[in-house]
Symmetry: C2
Subunit: 620 residues, 2 copies
C-alpha cells in the first residue's frame, strides 16, 4: 500500500518474484462500471470502491488457500484495509511504502511516461490514514534494500511475543503456535541459572519449530514485528512492574503490552496510566482455564483501550476456547482494569464453588461413604448440575495410590494465591455482599490453623452419634441452591463495580465467555447467558425464582441437620442466611441504626418520611 | 534549670516576686552528708543526689497543695527532672535558661565574687541533657525581658490544642478542661460561614472559661506551649492530610500531632513516616466511647513513638475512663498505626455485637413479642451477659413516640463509616478469619438494598406458619456462645497483626482498656483481661472451653430452628459454623488442595510426609 507513485507495483513485483508467489495489481480488478467512471474523468467514491475491495479480499482468501500472494493497492483508508483483510486479519501482512511529499512528487515527475499534478498528489496525502499495523518502509531506499528489509520483517520477525515460560506461559505459547502464529519466547533468568529455558522448550514441541526462543530481552523485543504485541505471563505483583521497566527501553511508541497474569485490577489501572504516559498500550487480561485450558483454549477477559485491543484481538480470539455457538470465549470486557476485576470475581466464584463441593464431600464422608461412593453420587448429579469442577472432583475422589484413595493422603491446609482475598476486599469496598466467597476464603484460612484445629478437636469433642436426616437428593438441591446464590452474588459484585467505576460491563457476555475454557464453566453458566440478557440480577429472573423456591425446603433441611450434627458448612449455610436476609422486607437494621444514633449520634432515616431526612434522638 | 552560671537564682527570685509565690533554691536543701562531701571537694554522684531530689519533689508537692512556687536547680539530666516532677508531671513547668559555652563562661568570670574554670563549666555542658518539654529562654536577654517571656509562656499559653470541634472534639475539650488543663480550641471553617465556632462553644460551657478559642490556625498554634500537643478530631481520610499540611508551616521541631479520629492504620503509618521526616511527632490514637464517653471518659488507644507518647500521656490518661482498679483506660498500644488498628478491630467487634443483638431482636419479634417485652427479656439477661450495648438496646426498645415504639419508625437501612469494612479487609489480608465481623458488615450492606428486599419478599414469600421451638434461655445461650466466638476472632485478628507487623501488642492490656469507656465494654470483657494473661487465644482457655461446651446445645437448637423458619441470622449462624470448622481435626481442605493441583498444578502437601514437601499429581 501507499500513495500513488510510491513505487508499489515495482516493489510488489520484485517481492513476489523473490518469494516465488503470484503478484496482483489491485487496479486490474476494477469492475466495468468503475473503469468507465474513471475513463470519463470522474473520481471513484467509497460506494464504487466497495465491490472492488471485496473482489480483492476474495482474491486474497483464495490465494491463501493455496500458498500466498502479493497484492498492491493504495489502500489509503483504514476502512479499505479492514475490508481487504476481512476474515484473514491474522494472515494479512501490510507493507506501507512511505515517503515525504517532495520525494514522491519528484520521483513521479522524473519518470518519462508519468505525470501527476502537485494538487492530485496532495489529495492522496490528505486521504492517507497511516496504518499502525504495517511494516513501514521508506521509499528512499534502493529497491534491493527495500526487498531485503521486507523479507527480514516478514520471514524473520515474529508476530507476537510471550514473556514468562511458567506453566501457563508455556501452554499459551503452544496454543499460539498451534494456531499458526509465529511467536517469540523469552524467560527471565539469572545468568548461569535456568538459561536456555526458551530454546529447550522449543525443542520439546514440534509445533514450536518456527518459534523464536531468546535469552536476551533486547533480542526478544527486536525479533517482534511492530507494533509489538508482548504478553506477560509472570507472577502477579512486583514482578510485573520489574518486567515492564526492563522492557520499556527497548519498546517503540504504539507497542502493546498484555498482562495475562492474575494482577490486581487496581494495579492494572495504575500500569495502564503509567504506560500511557510512555505512549505504550497496556491490556490487562484475565486468562482462566489452568494449564490445560491455556493449551487447548482458555477463557480470556481483556481490558484496556479498545483500539489497542483490536490489534491483539485476532491472537486472543484464535487461542481462546469456543463456546456452544463456536464463538471465541474472549471478549473486550471494558476499560482500565475491568478484565482483571472480572477474572478476580471469576476466581472468587470458583473459591465458593470449590468450597461447596468440599462441604458436600464432608457431609457424605461423615455419613460413612468412601470416596468412590461419593464419586458415584456426584456422578449421578451431572444431569442436574454438571460443571468442570464437579467432574474434576469426581476424578480426584476416584484417584488411588497403592490401593488407597489419594485424597486421604493430602494435607488439609488449603492454599490461596490472592484472588479470593481480593474479591472479598472488593466486596467489602464496593458494598456488594459476596458472602459465599468470603466464607470460602475464611474457611481456607481456618484450615490453615491445623495444629489449633487438632487441639480444639480434643477440647470440644463430643460423643454424640451422627444422626443426619437427609437424602442425597436433598443434598443435591442444597448444592444447587447455594450455587445460584453464589453466582448471584458474584455477578452482583461485577455489576456494582461496573456502576461504581463506570465500566459499562455486559454481564451476559461475561457469562458467555465463561461457558467454555474456564474453571467455572457449567450448565448453570450456560443458562445465565440468557438470564443475564433479561435481568440485571440472577435472583430476579422468573425461572430462577421458581427453581429457588423448589430447592429451598431441602436446603433448609440439609443445613439445619448439619448444624445439629456439628458438621462445618459455612458456605452452604451462608447461602440460606443471605437468602433470608435478602428476602426480608423489614429487617432489624432499624435497631442497628438506633444503636448507632444512641452512642455516636450517627442519625437515622424514618419510614414515615420519604424525603430521606436524617433524624437524631436523645435516647436517654 | 540550667548549667551553673546561667543565672537561675537571679531569674528565679525575680519570677517568684513577679508571680507572688515563694522561691526556693534547690542547693539549700542538700542533706548534711552531701554538704560534707562537697565541702571536702568530692563531687556528688547520682546516689547522693537521689534523696535530695526527692526532698525537692516533696517540697514542690507540698507547695502545689497551697498555691505554687519557684524552685531553682540545675537539673541537668532527664532522670533528675523525672524525679523532681514525679507525680506532678502535668503541674510542673520547666524553664531552661540556656546560652552558649562562651556566653556563660564570660558571664561567670565577669562577676566579682565568682570563678569557674573552663574545665568545670565544660563538664556541666557535657552532663546537660537538653529537656524537650521546657520553656527555653536564651540568657542573652535582659532579666526583664526574660521574666516577660516566661510570663507569657506560663500565663497566656495553653498546654494542649484541640483541632476539630465536632461531636467528639467538643466532648474531649470539655473533658480536658474538667481535668484542669488549659487548652486551645480551633475549628476549620470557610470564611463567613461557621465562624466563631470555638468562641461560641467556649461561651456555652463554664468549664471552658480558661480555654482559648481561635478562628485562625496560626494564632491557635502560637497559643500552645512548646513542644506543642495538638489533637486532631477531624473526619478520617483526606481531611487529616489537609489539616496536617495546613499546620506544618506553623509548627516547630519536636511538636506532637495526635490524630484521634478513626483513621486507617495504614494511613497512620504513612503520616507517621511523613511527619518524622519533618521532625514532628505523630501519635495515632483510637478514641472509643461515643459522645458521652468522650465527655466523661473514653477508652483511648494511642500508638506511635513511645518518647512522644510519654509527653501526651498525662493528658490522655487524665481524660480516659478509669477501670475497676481505677487505672486509666488508656495504654500505649505499640508502634506505627497499631492504635488505630486496635480501634478498628474494636469497631469490628462492635459491628458483630450489634448485629447479634439485632438478630436476637428479629427472632423475638418474629415470635410475636413487642419491643417492651423484648426489652424485658434482655433486661433479664443482664446477670449473665451485661454490656453497654445490651443496655442501650434495652433503652432503644423502650423508647416511645406518641404511644408507639420509636424503633418501628426507623428505616432499616444500616449505615457504616468504614471501620467494619477495614476490619474485614484486614482479616482477609492477614489470613485471620473474623467471620462474624464480615457477616455483620455484609448484613448491613444487604440491608441497604431495601427496594430489592421488598421485591424479593414478594417473589420468595411462603405462607409457612412460624414454628420456633426454643426458649429465651436457649436464645441467651446462643447469644453468649456467639459473643465468645466474636471476641475470640477479634483478638485473634489483633494477635495476627501483632505477629505480622512485629508490634508486640499486649492482648490483656487491650482488653483492660476496653472494660470501661468504650462501646464494647461488658462483663465478658472483664473476664478476658485475666484470660488473655494466661492464653493467647480465648478459645484455648479452660473456663471458656467449659462454657462453650455448656452453651453449644442451645446454640445449635436456636440456629437450626431459625434456618427452618427462614429467619435471617447470618452472624449467629456463622458462630457455630466457625466453631465447627475450628474444631475439625481433619477438614475437607484436602479436597480443595487436590482440586487446585488438578486444574492449576498448585501442588499439595501430604499427611505422610512431615517434611512439608510439595507434590504434584497427574490426575487424569
Amino acid at each position: 500500500m501507499g500513495v500513488s507513485g510510491c513505487g508499489k507495483s515495482t516493489i510488489g513485483k520484485l517481492l513476489a518474484q523473490e518469494l516465488h508467489i503470484p503478484f496482483f495489481d489491485g487496479d486490474d480488478f476494477h469492475p466495468e462500471s468503475n473503469i468507465k467512471k474513471m475513463s470519463s474523468g470522474q473520481p471513484l467514491n467509497d460506494d464504487d470502491r466497495h465491490g472492488w475491495l471485496e473482489t480483492l479480499n476474495n482474491l486474497a482468501k483464495k490465494q491463501l488457500a493455496n500458498n500466498s500472494c502479493v497484492i498492491v493497492c493504495s489502500a489509503l483508508k483504514q476502512k479499505y484495509r479492514e475490508l481487504l483483510s476481512e476474515g484473514i486479519e491474522e494472515q494479512t501482512e501490510w507493507i506501507h511504502l512511505f515517503g515525504s511529499f517532495e520525494t514522491i512528487y519528484n520521483r513521479i515527475n522524473a519518470r518519462k511516461d508519468h505525470f501527476m499534478s502537485s494538487e492530485m498528489l496532495k489529495s492522496q496525502f490528505d486521504t492517507l490514514e497511516e496504518p499502525d499495523n504495517a511494516i513501514a518502509i521508506n521509499v528512499k531506499l534502493l529497491p534491493k534494500e527495500i526487498i531485503e528489509k521486507i523479507k527480514i520483517e516478514l520471514m524473520e520477525k515474529s508476530k507476537f511475543g510471550l514473556l514468562g515460560l511458567g506453566v501457563m506461559g508455556k501452554s499459551l505459547c503452544r496454543n499460539l503456535a498451534n494456531n499458526g502464529f509465529k511467536i517469540s519466547m523469552f524467560n527471565r533468568h539469572i545468568d548461569g541459572v535456568e538459561e536456555n529455558v526458551a530454546s529447550d522448550f522449543k525443542n520439546e514441541h514440534n509445533e514450536l519449530s518456527k518459534a523464536l526462543p531468546f535469552d536476551k530481552l533486547k533480542e526478544f523485543v527486536n525479533s517482534i514485528q511492530k507494533p509489538r504485541k508482548i504478553m506477560l505471563m509472570v507472577n502477579a505483583g512486583k514482578t510485573v512492574n520489574i518486567v515492564i521497566d526492563d522492557l520499556l527501553p527497548h519498546l517503540s511508541e504504539g507497542d502493546i503490552i498484555i498482562d495475562g497474569g492474575n494482577s490486581n485490577y487496581n494495579k492494572t489501572k495504575e500500569r495502564f496510566e503509567y504506560l500511557k504516559s510512555k505512549k505504550i498500550h497496556f491490556i490487562g487480561t484475565g486468562v482462566s482455564g489452568g494449564e490445560e485450558g491455556a493449551l487447548k483454549g482458555p477463557s480470556i477477559m481483556p481490558s484496556g483501550d479498545l483500539e489497542a485491543y483490536k490489534k491483539v484481538q485476532p491472537f486472543l480470539e484464535a487461542i481462546a476456547a469456543k463456546d456452544g455457538n463456536n464463538l471465541p470465549c474472549c471478549t473486550y470486557i471494558g476499560p482500565e482494569g475491568s478484565g482483571h476485576f472480572v477474572k478476580m470475581v471469576h476466581n472468587g466464584i470458583e473459591y465458593a464453588e470449590m468450597q461447596l463441593l468440599a462441604e458436600i464431600f464432608s457431609i457424605l464422608e461423615a455419613s460413612g461413604k468412601n470416596p468412590d461412593e461419593i464419586a458415584d453420587i456426584l456422578e449421578s448429579w451431572k444431569q442436574e448440575a454438571d460443571s468442570y469442577l464437579l467432574n474434576i472432583t469426581i476424578n480426584v475422589l476416584r484417584k488411588k495410590e497403592n490401593n488407597d484413595w489419594l485424597i486421604h493422603k493430602i494435607l488439609d491446609k488449603a492454599g490461596n494465591k490472592g484472588t479470593g482475598n481480593w474479591t472479598t476486599i472488593a466486596s467489602a469496598q464496593l458494598g456488594a455482599p459476596s458472602t459465599l466467597i468470603a466464607s470460602a476464603l475464611f474457611t481456607r484460612y481456618t484450615s490453615f490453623y491445623k495444629e489449633d484445629r487438632v487441639e480444639a478437636n480434643i477440647n470440644f469433642s463430643t460423643k454424640n452419634d451422627l444422626n443426619l436426616d437427609m437424602s442425597s437428593t436433598d443434598l443435591l438441591k442444597a448444592y444447587q441452591f447455594a450455587r445460584i446464590i453464589n453466582h448471584n452474588q458474584g455477578f452482583n459484585l461485577i455489576s456494582q463495580a461496573s456502576k461504581n467505576y463506570k465500566w459499562d460491563l455486559n454481564l451476559s457476555e461475561i457469562a458467555r465467555i465463561w461457558t467454555e475454557g474456564c474453571i467455572i464453566k457449567s450448565n448453570l453458566m450456560m443458562e445465565l447467558v440468557e438470564i443475564l440478557k433479561r435481568e440485571e440480577a440472577i435472583l430476579k429472573d422468573e425461572n430462577i425464582i421458581q427453581t429457588v423456591r423448589d430447592l429451598k425446603e431441602s436446603t433448609k433441611k440439609v443445613i439445619s441437620q448439619c448444624i445439629l450434627n456439628e458438621l462445618p458448612i459455612s458456605c452452604l449455610s451462608e447461602s440460606i442466611n443471605f437468602f433470608n436476609s435478602y428476602k426480608t422486607a423489614n429487617s432489624s437494621a432499624n435497631l442497628i441504626q438506633a444503636q448507632r444514633d444512641y452512642f455516636g449520634a450517627h442519625t437515622y432515616q424514618r419510614i414515615d418520611d420519604a424525603s430521606g431526612k436524617f433524624y437524631h434522638t436523645n435516647w436517654n
